[in-house]
Amino acid sequence: MIDVVYFAWVRERIGLPRESVETSAATVADLVAELRAREDRYDMAFTDLSALRVAVDQELTDFDAPLAGVREVAFFPPMTGG
């Protein structure tokens, strides 16, 4: 099980802030493909990966990052702090 968390418009588009996902995805990209196959709202949220950022266990990373041993994956738009 991996906790998947969503922020900002990704959270709004998918309609929930967090969920536990039973997955054997090897990489973040594989997890995205699994989520997109679920329902339109996921498919729409992940249509343009260049508009998304990902953190694995609270560290920014890339979509080809491996998921072995990972507990939490977060998807969100580019950050707008400061």
Binding site: V5, F7, A8, W9, A55, Q58, E59, L60, E72, A74, F76, P77, P78, M79, T80, G81, G82
Partner: protein, 147 residues
Amino acid sequence: MTVRLQEAAFDAGAELNAFTAAQSNAGAVVSFSGIVRNSARGDLVAMEIEHYPAMTGSAIEAMIETARGRFALGDALVIHRHGRLAPAEPIMMVATASRHRADAFAAAEFLMDYLKSRAPFWKKEVTASGAQWVAPRDADEKALTRW
């Protein structure tokens, strides 16, 4: 180093005075404070700031550690708010202290550039006509390349 994430407003002047008073080995203190800018039409009702509580603090601490490796940075303070803010309220501040001013200026700019694009915050502008997530500016991403 001090990193504070909070919903409550803060007094940037008082924070700067306290930070300055706590320095025993510095010759320069630089600070920046960000405030909620009104919309172009002047109809901003609120700025809503969301963040990633499990990541934000550690991400900012890591930025400060990186700044320490690049500049002769003695101490740093970062305060960043989240939640619902009104126009002209303080959003965040950065203060840096070093022996000489060049390092304090550079470290403050470095931290600001990274906070903009690499700290997990997302701003949403609420106006009379609706709410909209703030889009990142290309210039903010480009600013990172100078470091």
